[in-house]
Symmetry: C2
Subunit: 163 residues, 2 copies
DNA sequence: TCTTGTTACTTGTTTTAACAACTATTGTCT
DNA sequence: AGACAATAGTTGTTAAAACAAGTAACAAGA
């Protein structure tokens, strides 16, 4: 509880709590902005993220849990997330014959087209979210965020966000 | 798209996107840590937050939508959030006689006791989340997070996080 | 080859979240 | 006073998240 000057922060129990609450609120506010874009296409940010990952390996496929691990946000419900995208005709799944436990997931043309269709709107939303910050502030913020979560990342399965 | 050196970030469409994804992932990882604490008491972080706000005015009450506006994360479903806390016997609600549209919410003793009971565990979780960062890094991070969301805050209804 | 264990999902169930539509009250304008 | 708008919640409905338990397929050792 290294508070050198309590009078400046009377409403938090600790500096760590203050930072976490700021993180939570900032995420919530910024998320709302990009959710407007995804809402218009009828998908969620998490679903978009899954499609993006599949696009990086297209026309190859990726196995279900591997995809789940690489998502920005953890997804214990990866099966049904993919169910919905499959029902929308955005991807296809196939059980692998050499190991029938594994299900391979592949984005299909309608999925690629959706990504292309909303690409500009997504970029616009990121500008609206953070376009008011300088490049150096953004780099600094990214660095601090990575530092904040580093001890909590699974080193065996780093996300594409980790350096 | 002020990317001076694209080769260092080949996997993002923009610096703004990179920062937002880092924010999302960091929030997700840190949230998981404190959710363990709340899970043991059977409440959510958002519910805990509502109780905390009510505690700040205890033994006075606060009206429903005012409480909803002050939550860290927006809560369009504030009615049912309060329903659950009321069913747990942690708060009480009363329709105001001088304006029967308004419902006043007040934390009751069981709610205060719950907050006292888990206070230490919550503080511990914040230490586990961010205890590895220096005080100056934490202050810098808090400052950048406030800067990031400033244009998106409702100036008419600032949260207690805003300076 | 027959357990026993591990892996890779699936399913069931319960909470939450999000959005829209709806009700009850009060305020305002004529 | 009556009409109309605005306020403060509530309810209905659907989608998504979280957690636990269950199933099928493969792996490894006795």
């Amino acid at each position: 509880m290294s508070r050198t000057n309590p009078s400046t922060r009377p409403r938090f129990d600790s500096l760590q709590q203050e930072v976490f609450l700021n993180l939570w609120r900032t995420y919530d506010r910024l998320k709302q902005i990009e959710d407007e874009v995804f809402g218009q296409e009828g998908i969620s940010a998490q679903q978009y993220n899954a499609l993006r990952l599949l696009q990086t390996v297209h026309p190859d496929s990726m196995q279900t849990l591997e995809l789940g691990r690489r998502l920005i946000s953890r997804a214990p419900d990866i099966t049904r997330l993919l169910d919905r995208l499959e029902q929308l005709g955005l991807l296809e799944r196939e059980r692998r014959s050499d190991n029938r436990r594994v299900v391979q997931v592949r984005i299909v043309s309608a999925g690629v087209e959706l990504l292309e269709r909303i690409h500009v709107a997504v970029q616009d939303s990121h500008q609206r979210q953070l376009g008011h910050m300088s490049e150096s502030s953004l780099n600094q913020l990214a660095r601090l965020l990575r530092h904040a979560r580093r001890p909590h990342e699974d080193l065996n399965h780093p996300s594409l966000l980790d350096e």
